[in-house]
Structures are given as C-alpha cells and as structure tokens.
Amino acid sequence: MSASKLLRKYETVVVTRTNVGAEAQRKLYEKMTELMEKAGARHIRFELWGKRRLAYPIAKAVKGIYMYHVYLADSTFVKELHRQLKLSPIVLRYLSVKLADGIDPDTYDYEKEKQFDELPADLEEPQRRPMTGWEAEFQNGNLGLDLDSDEDEEELDEEEEDEEEEEE
C-alpha cells in the first residue's frame, strides 16, 4: 500500500487565440504545468494539435490553437485550473474530461504515455503527434503548426516596418 492519495485521470483541451505568438502559448503551457506541480498533480502527456479552423467563430477568432493535456489530479485542481484559464485573455475555450478514477500516482505506469510528454523544444516547428484517424483527416488541412504566421500578425509587422521607415 502506498501513502499517496488516490487521484483521477483527466484530460484537458485548451483552445487559444492564434494572434498572440508562440511566446504567449509557451507561457500558458508553463503556467499550466506549474499549477499542476503546485497542486501535486502529475502531468502525463501533452500534445500540440496546432492551428485549426474553428467550426464557428469565437470572440471574433476564426482559428484557434489546440493544446491537449493528460494528467492525474483531484477535482479541486481542475476547479482551480478552470478558474485560471477563465482569467487568461488568450484562452478561447477549454474542456476537461475525467478519464479514470481512483488511480494511485505511485503505481501508475507513466512510461506508457510518457513518450508524448514533452513540449517541443522549438514551438515554431513542433513535432506532430500521431493520433488514430486524426492525422489522416487533418494532415492536408488545418494542422499547419506555423504558430506565428497569422494574418493579424502580418498586418502588425507591416505597421512596425512603416514606423521604422518614418523614423529614418
């Protein structure tokens, strides 16, 4: 018998804005993992699904970046996570689903899913995560993972250039 409290296995999908740049995405990721550490949750798996067209516009955003986490935690953590996500200006939507109950974090086989548990070193060009059925469907379409090239961003860049020229 182990002394650890039994935890639940959850998955959380977070949809964020596309026009905030890779740095903000990374910050959000780090904040989430930090929260998990603090709350004694165990992070199991992370996937970056990339930029995808939303089925309907949310807060004027047409595209969103999807992040996917799997972790062991208790219900109070999920509550706190949701509170934090609600406060974040770049988060459009989130969804948490309980996958399993009564898991002992000490005996859980992390290695089984651990191979996915790393944030790609370079968020500009993250690795694609193979998923059954998913890759096949979206390979040609919206799984473009080029997080920084967004229409809005391009416009901003142009404005900056203009300013620079004026200064000269």
């Binding site: 309907y56 969103g64 999807y66 996917y68 459009l92 969804l95 689903v97 998923m131 059925g133 096949a136």
Partner: protein, 87 residues
C-alpha cells in the same frame, strides 16, 4: 388487419433491411470528441445529430455519439449549427 392494397405491397420487396450499428460492427472505431472525423457522418450538413432510426446506431453508441458531438461542439471542432454553405 388484412391488407387489401396489393399496390403498396408490391413496392416493398422483401422484409426491411436490418441496419447494423457501425460501432458494434467495428469495435476498433472509438467514439471520441477529439476525432470528429469518425463521427462526422452521424451529423447532417446543418450540424444536427442524425437520429438513430435513420443511422441505425444502437442506443448505447448513440448516447456516446451524442456526448462526443456535444463535447466537440464546445471546443469548436464541430459546428453547433451551420447553414450548409461553405463560409
């Protein structure tokens, strides 16, 4: 009740075909909101969930489909409603 209308009878050839639930037939297909491709054909072009009297899905799997569609809608992987036109 005796049927006096041979015309109607003539139209139906044999007993109605029994629909088989696609998820019972192929147990490898998982109903998952994260993979809308698998459940896409169970919604109409307008984004409505197809009733199981049409699709032939069994009640257990229909419940799973409904849940998956609703979850997928929340995170905008599937539309709540669409006009059918490509926007």
């Amino acid at each position: 009740m005796k049927s006096d209308k041979p015309d109607n009878k003539k139209k139906r050839r044999g007993p109605p075909r029994r629909k088989v639930c696609p998820f019972c037939a192929d147990r490898n297909v998982r109903i998952d909101y994260k993979n809308p491709a698998a459940i896409k054909r169970l919604i109409t072009e307008r984004g409505k969930i197809v009733p199981r009297r049409i699709s032939g899905v069994c009640s257990r799997h229909q419940r799973a489909v409904a849940l998956a569609v609703k979850r997928a809608r929340h995170i905008a992987l599937m539309p709540y409603a669409s006009t059918g036109a490509v926007s």
